[in-house]
Symmetry: C3
Subunit: 413 residues, 3 copies
Amino acid sequence: MQEPVQDLFTVNNLWMMISTILVFIMHLGFATLEAGLTRAKNTVNILFKNTIIPAIGLLTYALVGFNLMYPGADFAGSIFGFAGFGLSLPEGWDTSAYNEGYTFFTDFIFQAMFAATAATIVSGAVAERVKLGPFITFSLLYVGICYPIVGMWKWGGGFLHELSTPFYDFAGSTIVHSVGGWGALVGAFLLGPRIGKYTPTGMKAIPGHNLPMATMGVFLLWFGWFGFNGGSVLSADPGAVSKVFVTTSLAAAAGAIGALIASYFKFKTYDITMVLNGILAGLVGITAGADQMGVTDSIIIGFIGGALVVFAVVLFDKIKIDDPVGAISVHLVGGIWGTLAVGIFGDLAGWGQLYAQLLGIASVGLFCFATSWLIFFSLKRTVGIRVDEKEEIEGLDINEHSMRAYPDFAPKD
Amino acid sequence: MQEPVQDLFTVNNLWMMISTILVFIMHLGFATLEAGLTRAKNTVNILFKNTIIPAIGLLTYALVGFNLMYPGADFAGSIFGFAGFGLSLPEGWDTSAYNEGYTFFTDFIFQAMFAATAATIVSGAVAERVKLGPFITFSLLYVGICYPIVGMWKWGGGFLHELSTPFYDFAGSTIVHSVGGWGALVGAFLLGPRIGKYTPTGMKAIPGHNLPMATMGVFLLWFGWFGFNGGSVLSADPGAVSKVFVTTSLAAAAGAIGALIASYFKFKTYDITMVLNGILAGLVGITAGADQMGVTDSIIIGFIGGALVVFAVVLFDKIKIDDPVGAISVHLVGGIWGTLAVGIFGDLAGWGQLYAQLLGIASVGLFCFATSWLIFFSLKRTVGIRVDEKEEIEGLDINEHSMRAYPDFAPKD
Amino acid sequence: MQEPVQDLFTVNNLWMMISTILVFIMHLGFATLEAGLTRAKNTVNILFKNTIIPAIGLLTYALVGFNLMYPGADFAGSIFGFAGFGLSLPEGWDTSAYNEGYTFFTDFIFQAMFAATAATIVSGAVAERVKLGPFITFSLLYVGICYPIVGMWKWGGGFLHELSTPFYDFAGSTIVHSVGGWGALVGAFLLGPRIGKYTPTGMKAIPGHNLPMATMGVFLLWFGWFGFNGGSVLSADPGAVSKVFVTTSLAAAAGAIGALIASYFKFKTYDITMVLNGILAGLVGITAGADQMGVTDSIIIGFIGGALVVFAVVLFDKIKIDDPVGAISVHLVGGIWGTLAVGIFGDLAGWGQLYAQLLGIASVGLFCFATSWLIFFSLKRTVGIRVDEKEEIEGLDINEHSMRAYPDFAPKD
C-alpha cells in the first residue's frame, strides 16, 4: 500500500499533464485564428508556420530552452544561467522527491508547450508578407533562446523574482504574451504594411477569409487557457485551481462584452472579430494575476482588456503598423495591462508592486525588443524578410508551397 | 501529511473541473453545428450569437443565476428562492467542508457552463431571421432568470425534488435540454418560417452551407457530453462515472443507427444531417437517466431517440414550424423522451416514477413556454423580433455585422 | 473514510476515462483529415463514413468485440477465444477488485474507442470511389471481428504475448495502426486508382480541398494521442505517463522535421501535407515503444518515421496504389517501423526482440491481409465495391447522399 502523499502526488501530476494537453491544443487555436483572419491565398503558409513552430519549439526546448529557463541552483544567475544541452534526469525524477506537484518529464513537457506560443503570436502579426525561411529562423532563435532567458528572470529565480517586492506574473501576461507581442511589434514594423492596406485615401480593411475558423480558434484558445492558467498553479490544489477557472472565465466573458460595447460605439456595428479579440485580451489580461483576483476584479480586468483591444487596433492602424490578426493589441497591450493590474488589484496592490510590475514590463520589453530587432534586422539586411511584390499579390501559398488551401472553390471576383 | 480524505477530495474536484472544461467546449460545438446547418450569408450572425451567449451566461450566472438556482437552505422555496446578488464565498469554500466533491468555485463554474446552453439551443431554431438585439435580450432574461428558477425546482431542492417519488433528471434532459427546446419552439413559432421555406407547392429544403463544420459540431458536443453527463455524478466515483460514459456513448452510437435507418426508409438516401441529429437525440435521451440505465437500455433509448428525431423533423415541417437546425426535434422531443425513459427503464420504473416524470415535463414546459412567449411576444410587439425582408434575403451578416464570413470565395450562382 | 488505495484507484480510473475521451476525439481528427485531403465533391461521403464507423465500432465492440479481444482466463486460447455475446459485469466491476487501474466499464469504453480507429484508417485509403454499403459491411466485420481477434494475440494474452521474448507493442503500432494499414492496402489495391490519377503521361496529383481542415485533423489526432499512448499505461502512474507524453510529443515534432527535410529535398517545396503526415508517422512510430524510449531515441524514431512517409507516398504512387490521404504510408509503413524500433532501441533491444517483432508484424499482417482480402474480394464479386464512372466523376455526395457539403459556394472552373 502506498503512502497517502503518493496519491496526492499522482493527482497533482495528473492535472499538470492534462494542462499540458490543453496548452498543446492552443497551437491549433492559434493556427485557425490566424488563418481565419487572413486571406485564403496565404492560408497554407500560415498553417505551415503554425505546424512547424510547435515542432521546433518542442525540440529546441529539449535541446537548450529548458536548461536556460530553469538552470537550477548550481547554474543559476540573476540574468543568465544554463545547465547544459539536452535533458538529463535528476534523481527522483518520477516521484514526489523531484517536486511535490509533478515529475521531471511533466515539468519539461508542460513548459515546452508554453515555449512555442511566443513565436506563434509573432506569426499572426507578420502574416501575408513574411518570407518563410527567415521567419522559421527567427522563431528558432526566439523560442529557443530569447524566451527561456526572459522566463528565467522570473520563473527560474532570476532578478525579477529577487526584488524586495517581487515582480508578479502568475501564468505569463508578460513572460509569455508580451514576449510574443514585442516580437510581433518589431516584425510588423520592419516588414511594413501589406500592399494596399494604407492608401493615400485612408486605411482599407482586409477582411479575414474564414470567420468560423477564427471563432473556432478563439474557443480553442479559451479551452486551452484552462490549462495555461489552471496548470500554472503547479498542482491540483482544489481551492487555487477552481479559483483560477472562475477568474479566467469571467475575464474572458467580460472581455467579450467590453469589446462589444467599445466596438459598437466606435464602428456602429456588431464586429465579431473585435469580440473574438476582446475575449483573448480578457484572457491575456487576467493571466498575470489569475490566482489573486476576486470575482469583481476579474470582470473589471477582462472588461478593460476587451475595450482596450479595440482602441489599440485603431491606434496601430493610425501609426500604420499593419497587424493582420490584432496580435500586438491582444498580446502586448493586453499583456501590459494584465501585468499592471496585479499592482492595482492584486494581493500586494500598491506602489511597491506597481513599481515591480513596471520594472518587469520594461526589462522584458527592452530585451525582447532589442533581440527581435537584432534578429529580424539582420535577416532583413542579408536574406531579406519580405516576399516580393508579385508573390505577395498572388499569394504565398502558390509561391512558397506550390499549392492552394481550397483548390475546389472559385475565388471571389 | 494530508488526510486521505483530502486526496479523494482533490480527485473529485479535479474531475468536476475537467467536466467544466468539457461543457465549455460544447459552446463551440453548438456554434459550428448551427453555422454549418444554415446558409453562408448568415454565418457571422450565428457565430456572433454563439460567442456572446456564453459570455452573457457566465456573467449573469455570477450576478443572479447561481443564487436563484441554488439559494441554499436559508433562502429556498419550493418554487422560488434567491440568495442575493453576486457570489459570496461560504466558509470552507475551498475544502471538503463545503462539499465532499468540489469547492464552491468549482460548483459555480460547472453550473455556469451549463446555464448558457439553454439559450444556445434556442439560437439554432430562430436562426437566419431573428433580429440580433432582441435575441440577445431574450437570451439574457432566459439564461439569467428562467433557467435557474426551473433548475431550482429539481436541483436546488424545489417541489419536483420533494415529491414522494421525486422527479428524476440526472443531467438535464428536461432541466436543460427541454428548457432550451421550449424557448426554441416559441421563438420559431412567433418568428414564422424563413422566406421560401414553405411554398404553395410544398416544403423546400434549405441546405446547410458547411457540413464538415456541422459534423465537427456534433463530435464536439459528444466530446463535451462526457463532462455534461459524467460531471453530473458530482464526484469522480469510478463506478458511477465509468457507467455514465458507457451509457452515454452507446446511446449516442445507437442514436446514429436509429436515425440512419429511419431516414433511409423515409427518404431513401443516406442523410448525414439526420445521422448527426440522431447522435444528439441519443445523447439528449440518455441524459435524464445516464446513471441508472444498463447497457441494453441505453442502446434502446438512444436508438428510439435517433429514430424519433427523423419523424419529429418531418412533423414540424408539416405544421410549418421552421427550425433550421432541428433543435426542437433534438432537444425538446429528445428531452421529453429521455425524461419519460427514466419512468420506463430506470431504477424505480413504474407508474409512480412515470407520473413524476410527466409532472416535471409539464410544469417545466408550462413555465418555459409561458415565459419565453412573454419575452418573445413583448419584444415582437415593441421592437420587433424579425429582420425585414430585404435583410433576410441579402443575409444578416452584411446587414447586422457589415461583413461576410467567407469574403474570398465566390457564392454559388 | 476510505482506504488510501481507493484514492489511488480513483485517480488511475480518472486518467483512463480521460484517455477514453481523448481517443474518442481522434475520430473527429480522422474525419477532418480525410475530408480535408480529398475533393469537395466527396466530402459528405467521407464525413458519413467517419461518423457511422465509431457508432458501429462501439456497438459491435459491446456485442462481440470486447469478449473476443479479452476473453479472460476461462475462454482464452492462443489464437482465438470468446467469452460470449454482450457485456456482463464481473464481480467487483466498479472497484479496485476488478483491476487496480480502472473499472470494468472504463476498461470496456477505453478499448471500444480504440476499436473503431482501425476501420477509420481504411476509410481514407479507399476514399472517393468506394461504395458506401459495401464499405460499411467491411467495417462492421473488420472492426467487430478481425481487429479484436488480432488484439487478443497480444493484449488478451495470446501467442504473441507468450513468446519467450514476447512481442512488444505498447499502444498498438501493429495491433491498431498496421491492422488498419493492411485493410487500407488491400482496399486501395482491389478498388484500383481514382479516375485520372495515373495517366499515360504520368501521375497527376489530386489536391485535397480544404487544408485547414486537414491541419485541424492532425492536431486533433496528436491531441488524442496523449490518451492513446498515455492511457495505454493503464494507470495514472506519474513517471510512466509523463515519460510517454515526452516521447510521444518529441516523436511527433521530429516527424514533422523529418518529413519537412525529406519532402524539401524530394520536391523542392514546402509541402504541408507531407509535414502533416510526417507528424502522424512520428506518432505511429513511437506508439509501439512509447514507454521504453529515451529522449534521443524518440527523436530518432520520429524523424525516420517522418522521412519514411515521404518515400512511401512516392513508392505507392509508383506502383499505382492510389491512397488519397497517405493512410498506408502513415499507418502501415509507420506501424512496421515503430514495431521494429522496439527491437532496435527498446529495453530488450537485440535479435531476440527483433525476431519477436518481426513475428508479430508478419502474423498480424498475414491475418489482416487475408481477412480483408476475403471480405473486400467477396463484396467485389457480389455487390461490387466501386461506384460507377459517372458517379465517381460527379462525386459521391450528390449520388449517394443527395446533398453537397458546401452548397453555397461556387465550385472551381
